[in-house]
């Protein structure tokens, strides 16, 4: 029966990953980010939309590389950057700043239902709903065409 320890530990690992994402939603805050798509498809993981975020603007003093930021809701309801720094601080989202664009690894690509990727790409104006935990992890929960 000791051999069943392997699937048990493997299931525990998967459960912990899943739980960490749900914890982000349960304990975190929800934001909606303006997003623009570019370039889809991953033969291994399926169809996804690569996204960039026009509202995530850096401060002038920021240099290219790893950055840390938090979000706040802007006047029009879409999220904008609250605080941004090149040093990590509690609750910050780890991302990168390169070529005038800010992104975070989990915000970069959004897996979509098979066949819906091209339509989302054509739409151009998209909105990503995401949960952000108090400790800085994020969980993208929804991607849709922006109505404004």
């Amino acid at each position: 029966m000791r051999s069943f320890l392997f699937p048990a530990l493997q299931s525990l690992f998967i459960a912990l990953i899943v739980l960490s994402f749900y914890a982000t939603s349960w304990l975190g805050e929800q934001f909606v980010l303006r997003a623009e798509p570019f370039d889809p498809v991953d033969p291994f993981y399926g169809e996804y939309v690569l996204l960039q975020y026009p509202d995530l603007k850096p401060s002038d003093s920021l240099q290219n590389g790893e950055i840390y930021f938090t979000l706040k809701q802007g006047d029009d309801g879409y999220a904008v950057i609250d605080r941004i720094d090149s040093q990590a601080f509690f609750g910050s989202i780890r991302g990168t700043y390169y070529n005038e664009l800010i992104t975070a690894p989990q915000l970069e690509q959004y897996y979509v239902e098979q066949g819906t990727g091209p339509d989302l790409e054509k739409a151009r104006n998209l909105a990503v709903t995401l949960d952000v935990s108090p400790w800085g992890t994020i969980r993208p929960v929804y991607l849709d065409v922006r109505q404004d």
Partner: protein, 389 residues
């Protein structure tokens, strides 16, 4: 029955008598027979599985994330269960079921990644498969787990290239060293040794110092590792020689054939490498004579400068010839020496004779002469052997 035929033959040859034959047959007949599943049941199971998979595939897009992950996890548990039963009830092959179970673990990771838009630009997931597969290997000690662990380990290194930290590197080194030290089968030791070598190459990313000598430093470090398992000299020695020979050919190619911008070679580092290589020479000469050749690599640092590069070609050529001659005199296999010799000739040909017909003719004549001389030597040796008998 195969056994009965063999016993009959052995009895005819007089190896065993009739009493022994009867005893063996009685013993074998008393052994539990492997349980075979009825053919119709197998066909039914295949159709049923196809129906279940078609149903899941048709509804995959609309399934909630947790259900998707749960389904793959269920499959994983099912196959581990089959593995357990296969071992207990003596049907099928347990390892096949467990390998499918392991694949289902990988599949559940992929489904989780997709369902929660988890970033794949880190090495957490390959790490999970690497550790899990290694645990399988240490529990069951079977070759396929070692092979999968090697592939997963290579993935860990590849995925962590942009983000590798000293901590992650240290963890990888510790895990791989433990794997190397507690490996019981040769293939597992070769796999772990290869990953240790690859982790040495990761220093290119970790250390803020531009050098092209990391592969040699790594190989020299791994020679000292042989002290912990001297009984594996034959296996690891051959591996070190192959990697060393490959390195010499690559350095020769990079330096001579291509117009690559090699980072500025540090004289102090080159001299340090030479000094260390003397230590490697002494150690290998005293303890592991079969790999003394790799100490030659210590001179590479000093032979990469513009003024000394010709000496690199000369060293490579001398080593190739000397290895062949000595291996021949010691009656050791010549295949490796020949492959290396030919590789060196090819590289030198492309460096010096490409686009120069007169030079290529010179090499061609040289090669023909070499063949003629070796033919004469072979004929003389054969004649001497004939006289001796």
């Amino acid at each position: 029955m195969d056994l009965e035929r063999k016993l009959e033959r052995w009895e005819k040859e007089g190896f065993i008598d009739q009493v022994a034959v009867k005893k063996i047959l009685t013993f074998e007949n008393q052994q539990p027979k492997p349980t075979k599943l009825p053919l119709l049941l197998i066909i039914g199971l295949i159709f049923f599985s196809l129906a279940v998979f078609s149903f899941i595939a048709a509804n995959w897009q609309v399934m909630p994330a947790l259900l998707k992950i749960g389904l793959v996890q269920l499959l994983m548990w099912m196959f581990y269960g089959f593995g357990y039963l296969a071992e207990r009830k003596n049907f099928g092959r347990a390892i096949i079921f467990r390998l499918i179970g392991l694949a289902m673990f990988g599949a559940s990771i992929i489904v989780t990644v997709q369902a929660f838009h988890f970033s794949v630009s880190n090495s957490i997931l390959p790490w999970a498969i690497f550790i899990v597969t290694l645990a399988h290997y240490f529990y069951w000690r079977q070759f396929p787990y070692a092979l999968i662990a090697f592939i997963a380990g290579a993935f860990v290194l590849m995925m962590s290239i942009p983000t590798m930290s000293w901590f992650e590197w240290g963890c990888f080194l510790a895990v791989t060293l433990a794997w190397f030290y507690f490996s019981h089968i040769d293939s597992s030791m070769v796999f772990s040794w290869s990953l240790l070598f690859a982790s040495g190459l990761m220093l290119w990313i970790l250390v803020d110092y531009e050098t092209i000598l990391w592969p040699i430093w790594t190989l020299f470090t791994l020679v000292f590792l042989l002290l912990s398992v001297p009984e594996k000299e034959r296996l690891l020695g051959s591996l070190s020689l192959v990697v060393g020979a490959f390195q010499l050919v690559v350095y020769l190619t990079v330096r001579g054939a291509m117009d690559l911008s090699i980072p500025e070679i540090n004289l102090v580092e080159s001299i340090s490498l030479l000094v260390v290589s003397v230590g490697v020479l002494v150690l290998t000469y005293l303890r592991f004579q079969s790999i003394t050749w790799i100490s030659v690599l210590g001179a590479v640092g000093l032979l990469l400068f513009d003024d000394t590069a010709i000496a690199l070609a000369i060293v490579a050529e001398i080593v190739a010839l000397a290895y062949l001659v000595i291996a021949h005199r010691q009656d050791r296999p010549l295949t490796f020496g020949f492959v290396y010799f030919i590789a060196v000739q090819f590289v030198l040909y492309f460096i010096y004779a490409w686009e120069r017909l007169d030079m290529s003719l010179f090499f061609l004549v040289g090669a023909i002469l070499l063949f003629v001389l070796s033919g004469i030597a072979w004929y003389v040796n054969r004649k001497k052997a004939g006289v001796a008998t």
